[in-house]
């Protein structure tokens, strides 16, 4: 357990956190909705993949695209059918509603799958690693997840900056009434944003299911990690979110190295609280535009 090794693991872990965080940030950015069910929605794709794998016995990696499609539909319909009704009712209503959804999802998963640990078995990949030297080995799976996170964040930036739909997302984010007057159907855009957020969540959720065990109670911590990454990095910036995730990941692994594994998560929380106290706008916050 060398410091360098823990550092590298922390950075890779941070990529995984960022993967969950960008969805939260995207939804907040386009509709100012703080989705408290986001964490539980990162668990749902792992169970969806589990059902598929149990039914047709294929590699969890193949289940990712199908899960992505399913989660897109779930997100679109959830937004269109329910959440769109409260987007303009202020953040309190949004928080109460998504908190309710969070608790319902968590308990429905408990009823359906019990509190037992589950794992998506991917064969030998979870034990393969690149050995750099005696003290440093990089697992293939964490590395792949980190690279996927990188690709997702770059992809999302390109989507937002270069495509017509992405421009519409940003226009709605800036001023939803003006966007409607320009012919944008904001209800559709919000639903698309939730769909895209859950597609990203699907990738991260299944990947985590391959990497570690999971159970229905994982939702709360997933939400909190995603939130901490968003706030550390500064809202509204994809690279900030990645940086936030990496700082959180590093805090956790280095905290485990310094104070022992039980204190790993707490070190992450404390670093978050320190940054919140000293720089509440986040490290890479965009300058406020009027």
């Amino acid at each position: 357990m060398d410091w360098l090794n823990q550092g590298v693991q922390g950075i890779l872990l941070g990529g995984h956190f960022a993967l969950f965080a960008v969805g939260l940030a995207l939804v907040f950015g386009t509709m100012r909705l703080v989705n408290l069910a986001h964490g539980d929605l990162t668990i749902v794709p792992a169970y969806v993949a589990l059902l598929m794998i149990n039914a047709i016995h294929f590699s969890p990696f193949y289940s990712i695209p199908i899960t992505m499609a399913i989660m897109f539909v779930v997100g679109y319909l959830l937004q269109r059918g329910l959440l769109n009704r409260v987007v303009q009712s202020g953040d309190v209503v949004g928080v109460i509603l998504t908190f309710g959804i969070s608790i319902v999802i968590q308990n429905a998963l408990l009823l359906g799958f019990t509190a037992d640990n589950e794992r998506l078995k991917a064969g030998t990949i979870d034990s393969l690693s690149i050995r750099i030297n005696e003290n440093l080995a990089i697992g293939w799976l964490p590395l792949i997840i980190f690279l996927v996170a990188l690709v997702v964040i770059i992809g999302l930036q390109l989507f937002l900056n270069r495509t017509k739909m992405g421009r519409a997302f940003r226009a709605v984010s800036d001023d939803q009434e003006a966007a409607r007057l320009m012919g944008i159907n904001t209800k559709h855009i919000w639903a698309m944003a939730m769909g895209v957020a859950l597609v990203i969540v699907a990738i991260g959720g299944v990947m985590r299911g391959i990497r570690t065990t999971f159970d229905p109670s994982f939702g709360s911590l997933s939400l909190i990690y995603a939130f901490e990454a968003v706030i550390i990095g500064g809202m509204g910036s994809g690279w900030g979110t990645l940086l936030g995730g990496i700082i959180l990941g590093l805090s956790q692994t280095l905290g485990a190295r310094a104070f022992g594994p039980p204190w790993s998560i707490l070190t992450g929380h404390v670093v978050f609280l320190i940054i919140l106290a000293l720089r509440p706008q986040g490290l890479l916050a965009k300058t406020v535009t009027s």
């Binding site: 907040f28 909705l33 703080v34 408290l36 329910l82 009704r85 409260v86 009712s89 202020g90 953040d91 309190v92 209503v93 949004g94 928080v95 109460i96 509603l97 908190f99 309710g100 959804i101 608790i103 319902v104 308990n107 429905a108 408990l110 009823l111 709360s220 911590l221 939400l223 909190i224 939130f227 901490e228 706030i231 039980p262 204190w263 998560i265 707490l266 929380h269 404390v270 978050f272 609280l273 919140l276 106290a277 509440p280």
Partner: protein, 358 residues
Amino acid sequence: MKAATSATASGDRQFSVHVASRVNQVVLGVGIIIVVFFILFPFFGGTPMTRRLVDFLSLLALSQLWNLMLGYAGLISVGQQGYIGMGAYTLWLFADVLHVHPFVGVIFAAFVGAIIALPSAALVFKLKGGYLAIGTWVLAEVLKTVVANIKQTGGGSGVTVVAARDMEVSVRIQGTYWWALGATLIAIVVTYLLLRSRTGLALKAIRDNDLAAESCGVNLWRTRLYTFVIAGAGCALVGAISAIHVLFVQPAAAFNINWTAYLVFITVIGGVGTIEGPIIGTIIYFVLRETTAKYGEWYFIVLGLLAIVVTVWSPRGIYGYIAQKTNFYVFPLQRKLRIVGRTAASQEIAAEGGEVAG
């Protein structure tokens, strides 16, 4: 509850602004009878029912405090389990380690809750709206993780509250009952007085607009701080009561997010911003729990779905809906304009907010 706040003459008609109506004075009488009934309940109600009422009153007190934070200061917290858990552990600390009588330890728990709430408020108030909510959740997780990692508190497996266990059963149950009843009454009275006060009215009107609040002379930050601290102390107190009640404290149970889920669902279903709302919500919760307990966790899901439906389609909750239809309030928070004309009949006009008198 007679509360004529001002009376002015305008031409030949007189206006007086009342918070309560004559019906409410009857209600007050009935209320006193109900309170006396509740105080005497342990003497005739039997142990199982008294125990059940401890649960009921604890949840009601907690919901009322959550309601106060949201209804009075616009604060939305999903981290109250942090205070409940700390209250439970403080009680254990005072009762079993420092050998303070458990029923006195409850008071210390409330103090600890307030002391934790102060720096917590300074941190989470840097966040806005929904993110503030998650901030409170993070703090609850921090408290839980710290407690679970301290060997002396029994770590993740928890500890028995020996002092409470060794107490005589009837004394313990009656004591917890009266503490729970006291907590509930205090929560209701504090909420009533704050929601009805001048600041309460101003805050209701301008809740989500910091600038408007400041310009009306309301120090929003300080008001929020007070409310947050009151709620923190109250939740810790109820957490301490529950520790005596169940004789055992464990991080996973004491700091469970489900505590907050109950409070949110109860308050939202009953009606945010009213005192009657949480009472109705708690009754609905208990009816659901008692009638569907054999189906396991389903009642909890049903409760959550009900809260979702109410939030989207009837945001004032069940009580808000009834009150709007009948214009009747057991705990009148809004003011009524009574025109005392030369004619004998007096007319009542309900008016939202304060500035009614001409």
